[in-house]
C-alpha cells in the first residue's frame, strides 16, 4: 500500500499542471457549493429573520377562533393570563403584545382603510416595533400617547405630512366605534409597498382605547431562545405544542410558517434552485476529474503495458488509478472544504451586497447577510464530490486494467 501510495503520488506530481487542474475540479465545486449553501442559508436566515423578527415572531398566540371570525374583532379581551404563562416559559426569549386593528384613516377629504398596529414602544415592544422601517421623523417612545407613524405610501395617498393629525376610526359590532386623532410623528418604509399603503403604528394604549378595552390584544408574539433559521422548525413546532397545551383550547398557538406561508413558499422555490445549481457543479467537477484521469491513463498506456507484462494483476492497476483518484479527490475536497469554510466563516460576520438595496428590500430581505453552513452540509458537499470523483475515476481505471499488455507497449502515445 505504501508503494502504491508513493507511485500514485509520484504520478500525480509528474504532470503537475494536470493534477492541479484536477484538484481544482474537485476543490472548486466544493468551495462554490459551500459558499452557495452558505449564501442560501444566509438568504433563508435573512428571510426568516425579517419575517419572524418584525412580523410573525417564531410563535403567535391568538384567540382560538380568530381565523373563523369574520365580523367583530378577534381580540383577546384580557391578555394578562396569557402573559403570565408565557413569562414563565423557560424556552421563550422575549414576547410582545400586539393589537392589530383594521381601521379607517382620514385626512381632509381623503380616507383609506388601514391596519393599525398597537405596540408597546421601547424595549418590551422591540419584537413588534417597526423601528427598522422608520424613514422620517422618529420612532415611538415609551410613554407616547396620541402619536402615530404611518407608511410613506399611505401618507402620500392621504396628502398627509409628518406633524399633521390623522383621524382614525375603528368600528366593530362588539366594541362599537372608536375614534382617535393622533399626531403623525414619523413615516415608515416597510419592504412591501402594500404594507406601506396601509400600516399605521401607534402606542398599544391608544389602540386599546379605540376598542374601549385596556386589556385587549390581538396577539402575543413570541421569540424563542436559540433559533437561527428555518432549519430549527421542528424545535419551534415542539415549543408551539407545549405552549398550546399550557394555554388551553381558548387560544391558538401558531408558528411563523403558518403565519407567513409566502415566506415558506419562497423557501420552497429557493431550495430546489440551489439543488439544481449544486448538481450542475458536481457534474462539471466530475467530468473534469474523469477527463484528466482518463488523459493520464492514456498517456501512460505504454508504461501500464509494461507493468501488466511484468505480471501485475488488473486489480492492482485499477487500484493504482483509484489511489490517485482518492489522493486527488481527497485533497481537493479537503482544500475546498477548508477554503469554503474559511470564507463562510468570514461571511458569517455579516456583509452587505453593494447596490442591491432596493431589490432585496422589495422581497422582504435586509441587505445584510450572515453566511452559515451546517456541519452536515459541509460534510455533504465534500463527501459527495469525493465520491463523485472516485466514481469518475472508475472508467479510466477500468480502461487501464483492460489494456492488452503487448498492444499497450506498442501504443504510440
Amino acid at each position: 500500500m505504501r508503494f502504491s501510495l508513493r507511485l500514485a503520488w509520484r504520478n500525480l506530481s509528474r504532470n503537475r499542471r494536470r493534477s492541479v487542474l484536477t484538484l481544482l475540479a474537485v476543490l472548486l465545486p466544493v468551495l462554490i457549493l459551500d459558499l452557495m449553501w452558505g449564501f442560501s442559508n444566509a438568504v433563508q436566515r435573512n428571510l426568516f429573520e425579517s419575517t419572524t423578527q418584525l412580523e410573525t415572531g417564531h410563535l403567535q398566540v391568538h384567540r382560538a377562533d380568530y381565523r373563523q371570525l369574520q365580523t367583530g374583532l378577534p381580540l383577546i379581551q384580557n391578555v394578562t393570563p396569557v402573559l403570565q404563562i408565557i413569562a414563565q416559559d423557560p424556552a421563550i426569549e422575549r414576547f410582545a403584545v400586539r393589537l392589530d386593528l383594521p381601521a379607517l384613516a382620514a385626512h381632509g377629504d381623503r380616507s383609506r382603510g388601514v391596519l393599525l398596529r398597537g405596540v408597546r414602544p421601547g424595549k418590551a415592544g422591540q419584537l413588534s416595533a417597526l423601528d427598522k422601517w422608520v424613514r422620517t421623523g422618529r420612532p415611538l417612545k415609551a410613554g407616547d400617547r396620541k402619536v402615530a407613524l404611518a407608511g410613506s405610501n399611505l401618507l402620500k395617498a392621504l396628502h398627509l405630512k409628518v406633524g399633521q393629525s390623522v383621524i382614525l376610526l375603528s368600528a366593530s359590532l362588539r366594541t362599537g366605534t372608536g375614534v382617535l386623532i393622533p399626531k403623525v410623528v414619523g413615516s415608515l418604509a416597510p419592504p412591501s409597498p402594500q404594507l406601506s399603503r396601509s400600516i399605521i403604528e401607534l402606542p398599544l394604549a391608544d389602540a386599546r382605547s379605540l376598542v374601549h378595552n385596556p386589556q385587549a390584544a390581538s396577539s402575543v408574539v413570541v421569540l424563542l431562545k436559540d433559533i437561527s433559521g428555518p432549519w430549527d422548525q421542528s424545535r419551534i413546532e415542539r415549543e408551539a405544542r407545549s405552549l398550546q397545551a399550557k394555554l388551553g383550547p381558548d387560544y391558538l398557538v401558531e408558528t411563523w410558517a403558518e403565519l407567513a406561508p409566502a415566506t415558506v413558499g419562497l423557501f420552497k422555490i429557493i431550495q430546489p434552485l440551489y439543488l439544481a445549481f449544486s448538481l450542475i457543479f458536481f457534474l462539471l467537477g466530475g467530468l473534469v476529474v474523469l477527463n484528466t484521469l482518463y488523459l493520464s491513463v492514456l498517456e501512460r498506456t505504454r508504461e501500464l503495458g509494461v507493468v501488466l507484462a511484468l505480471g501485475s494483476s488488473r486489480r492492482r492497476v485499477l487500484g493504482w488509478i483509484e489511489v490517485e483518484a482518492v489522493l486527488l479527490a481527497g485533497l481537493g475536497a479537503l482544500l475546498g472544504s477548508a477554503l469554503g469554510l474559511a470564507l463562510v466563516g468570514w461571511g458569517s460576520l455579516g456583509f452587505r451586497l453593494p447596490g442591491f438595496y432596493a431589490e432585496f428590500v422589495s422581497i422582504g430581505l435586509n441587505n445584510i447577510f450572515y453566511l452559515s453552513i451546517s456541519p452536515a452540509e459541509a460534510a455533504l458537499s465534500a463527501g459527495l464530490m469525493f465520491v463523485l470523483a472516485l466514481t469518475a475515476a472508475a472508467y479510466p481505471g477500468w480502461r487501464a486494467a483492460r489494456l492488452e499488455p503487448v498492444e499497450a507497449m506498442h501504443f504510440a502515445g
Binding site: N11, R14, V306, L308, A309, L310, S313, M409
Partner: protein
Amino acid sequence: MKTVGAYGHAPLQRKNNVNGENRYKMTNELVVRTERLSKSYVADGIETPAVRGVNLKIRAGEFAALAGPSGSGKSTLLHLIGGLLRPTSGQVWIEQQALGGLTPDQLARLRLRRIGFVFQAYNLIPVLTALENTEFVMELQGVPEGQRRDRALELLSILEIAEYADRFPNKLSGGEQQRVAVARAVAARPALVLADEPTANLDSESGQKLMDLLRRLNHERGVTFLFASHDPRLLNQVERVIELHDGVIG
C-alpha cells in the same frame, strides 16, 4: 492458483553453492517447450502468419537467442512464450505448465513468479528510481521490504549501477536503463528471462557491457535467458542461436 504456486523458487535457493561454477548448465529440466506453435495476426481482414509450427525446447540455465531478419517473428514467438499473446494454435509449456488453459489473471501470476522481461526500450517506470524499479516486481510478488531492498542493491552492484540507485530513469543512459531493467527482471528470481532486443538502443560499448553482465548472471546464478535479436554482438555471446525465417525455425 496451485498450478503456478507449485513452482516455488527452487533452482535459485542453491545460489550459495555456486562458487563461480555454472552448476545449472545442461540440466535436463525443460523451462520452455512449444509444440506446433503458430500465431497469425488478422488486421483489416488480412491474415499475417507471424509464427508457424514452432517446436522449441529451452533447458534450465540456457543462454539462447532467437535470430532472424526483421519481421521473421522473433518478438511474436517471445511474447507467445511469455504468455503475453495467445497462440492461434499449438501449445506452450513453462516448466510443465501448459499456458493454454490459464485465465489472463493466472497468466499474469505465472509471469510474475516465473518469467522476467527485458524489453527493447521504455522499460522502466519513469516515476520510480532505479532502485524502486528494481524492487517493483518483487513488490508485486509480496517480497518483504528489507529483503527486497537487499536483493535489489545486490543486483544493482553486480550490474555496476549501484551508485545510480536513487536516480530516476530519465537521468540514466540507455545502457544504464537496460541494466536496471535486467536487474528488475532477475531480482524477481524467475525461471526464465525473456529479453527482446535488449541491446538495440545501445552503442556497441554499452551493448557489449550489458551482454557481459547477462552472461555473468547466467553463469553465476544459473538464470535462463532467451533473447530475440539480430544484433551480431549479442548473437556472438550466446551459446545457442535459434534461426527464425518467416515464422519457421530453420
